[in-house]
Subunit: 269 residues, 4 copies
């Protein structure tokens, strides 16, 4: 019943400039709206559809950029890690770790990340039923971490398409972890452009509003000052210049939903 928080940023760290600009703009909006903000960006996209796609600046330059965001904008930062990531090195810099959807069933990896002692955003696989996130959370908890988030980002629906099942957001509350909805990866069309994933940016506000009304703890969104030229996930990124209006609408909805409480969690008389 805490107010909605936001995890946002560009998909990949294209440059320090991009990261700082985006972080600055987001911080301003978040401050204005009283919205908790965690800045997100990736230093390495380890699972691009195609080999020829841009992967990121690598670990060292990436962490340096994230550190500048922390220092210059005072924002907590999140980044996603992979099986070959030197976890301690990343954990020394960032505030929240994130595990990729495709890796949600890799037991050792989930536990290694959980053991870093930071909060972890556990993304649900596109192939996983929402109740099966309980097993993922169990693995992370068994590694001694109780600061876990679970994140829905769409489930496979035929080929090259995902659907966002709003029931999943309610189901995952049973894990006891705050539930996050990733409103931009949910509109991905995986592999939909042959050598890259397509996306349906126009549905980001619809899904974001729906998820907030369903009653999530947090929203995850990738944004970019110029999505058409983004080096990764542009088709599903929400334009930075339109973030303020979108966030204003969801913050308002969140207040209305949480002030009243969720009908399905109230006892009937």
């Amino acid at each position: 019943d805490r107010p909605l928080f936001l995890i946002a940023g560009p998909c990949v760290i294209e440059s320090e400039g991009l990261v700082l600009e985006t972080a600055g703009a987001l911080r301003e909006i978040a401050d204005e709206l009283g919205l908790g903000l965690v800045f997100k960006a990736s230093f390495d996209k380890a699972n691009r559809s195609s080999l020829s796609s841009y992967r990121g600046p690598g670990l060292e330059a990436g962490l340096q950029a994230l550190e500048r965001v922390r220092r210059e904008h005072g924002l907590p930062v999140l980044t996603d890690v992979h099986e070959d990531t030197p976890l301690a090195e990343v954990a020394a810099v960032v505030d929240v770790l994130q595990t990729p959807a495709f890796l949600c069933r890799q037991s050792d990896f989930i536990q290694a990340v959980a053991r870093q002692g930071l909060p972890v955003n556990l993304k649900k696989g596109q192939f996983l039923a929402p109740w099966d996130m309980a097993n993922v959370v169990d693995k992370a908890r068994a590694a001694g971490n109780e600061r876990l988030l679970v994140c829905e980002r769409g489930v496979s629906f035929g080929y090259n398409n995902l659907v966002s099942d709003m029931r999943a957001l309610a189901v995952m509350r049973a894990t006891g972890c705050p539930v996050v909805f990733d409103a931009t990866h949910s509109v991905q069309l995986p592999g939909g452009q042959g050598g890259a994933s397509g996306g349906q940016r126009e549905f980001v506000p619809v899904l974001a509003r729906a998820a907030v009304a369903a009653g999530v703890a947090g929203l995850f969104m990738e944004t970019h000052p110029d999505p058409e030229r983004a080096l990764s996930d542009g088709p599903n990124a929400w334009p930075l210049e339109r973030m303020r209006e979108l966030l204003a609408s969801v913050v308002e909805l969140d207040r209305a939903v949480k002030a009243r409480g969720l009908v399905e969690q109230q006892e009937s008389d």
Copy 2:
């Protein structure tokens, strides 16, 4: 941008008593909340999973019950019709006709219903992509009817399950028809009990809130004073005694959403 309206009632006309009681309770809530209400009940369930299930009181008794609702509660009424329904007879009594999801591709039927001159709620098939509702609307319009609603009630998602794709609600706006979300059939588990469909009543509020936040014109919900004993679709009916709190929450959300307007429909600067 008109305020949300509600289509609600028991699935099937079990008795005049049930229908009048339910209509009275719903009218009271709707009046209190300033919510437009259309009363819904079926006189014949023509497509039950199993032959041994209750189908309804039949045409004559059904229409009589609906007429009493109109007269005694002053409510407009909606009922669903089938290929062998004497349409003119029904149209003489009710205010809105509804075509079943399974029949959305039957051209002659859609046109015959449209020709009755009443508003028609066109339910989208569980097997239909949202953009393909344009063809259904075209058929109805070609029959000279412009007062059409399009209604999402879940799309096939594996066996014995449906998923509600909130993108579909946005897609169907392109038909120019008011978009309705059926929050109770969307939680049906078709055939999920072998000889009958199961249902997940607990997700009705989640999906109803999500759809209203997505920006629908209307909400459709089946309700019953005692869902456990309902003669049809009990597992997915929302209890009448809990309607007030659910409707209060969605009316509030609807106001917030429509006051602000839909971000995805606004021009960027």
Copy 3:
């Protein structure tokens, strides 16, 4: 364990000439291969995606064409009926009736068709789990008909796509009815061309072979001398001139499969 039979013909009766030409060519192939053949064609396509598509010659001309096929080629004929079809009139001419997939849940219709006393090919809805065909068969049997076939034609898989679940063919054996696989509608892309369905003709042989190897009783295929110019379902029709080679391959597979028996139906020692 009876040899494979074939239900085949053009989707719709475009003309008597087309129907007779196709029937003649199919009969020749069937005779050569020792394959039981039922000729199929529709007199009215009642559920075209779009209103502007060709529906067929209508009842009278359609039945006349089918009668000529019976008389001139000595073939049993099948046609599909709809809710407003005068069933007795059709039943007086044809040998097998077929109920459309979209209508598989319409209880009265299924029973009315079953009551005509002819064998009925019951198509499984795109939205139905294979075990739920037991309810459809129960309805038809309750109308006094034991000569029933159940037919798989693909199940909804995301939007505008179907998938053929070979498990379904095994599951439906439990109804006690011969199982038919519709190899051409299974490659339909429903609504995939906006105002019409698309199709993937190139996968017809793959699915036909797979289904025969799974152990079906019969195969259903639509064919046309010139699929590119077919007035309905051309994209998923198999060219008449290539039927011989396709049928030769499946007949051979069928013999191999049935000579040996189905491993899953044999007792382990």
Copy 4:
């Protein structure tokens, strides 16, 4: 057009005894049927649903068991590797490496495995369209490996279920790699038992026959002398004592299919 080959063995190396017994029995059947055989077993199940499930004997003991299979039964062996596997150590012992379905999008991993210089069986993710395997193959080829297999093991179909799309087997031929069908993981019900995956062993023969008739190069099957007591994937393992009859049937089908050639690959006149 080469004869069908088989990749088979128990899911996990429960003991050297189990592995040798299974390998011996399989070799005998394969010799009798003239079937090329690669023995498969895992030393570590890195992605079990639940933490408490058995994972395997670990690298050292696992490789030792596989080496005994090679030496004592003269069989080539395959094992699956993970992101933290010392690849060179495994590659020094086995004949074929396999990459897990969940990891099919991990670029570095796919390339690292490909670089070992052994043939690689690339499993297609449950979330991947068949044409998107082209990107996976491209990554492996770019690492200098041309001896690649692509393997279908079912695609997500709703929650806790997979469906085997036989079209996928034809689509993946376009990669130029031999296509393998995994007939036992395809009947998995992922997460279907809460803390573990369920399975539908009874459908293994149906899917195996269908895939062979579709025209695959190889078949993958997990087997166990006592599936009810298997420590992993028992519900979808095929009993060792029933392998002979199943393999005899698919070998016969394969000969029939390949003697004739695939209709869809032949030119029309």
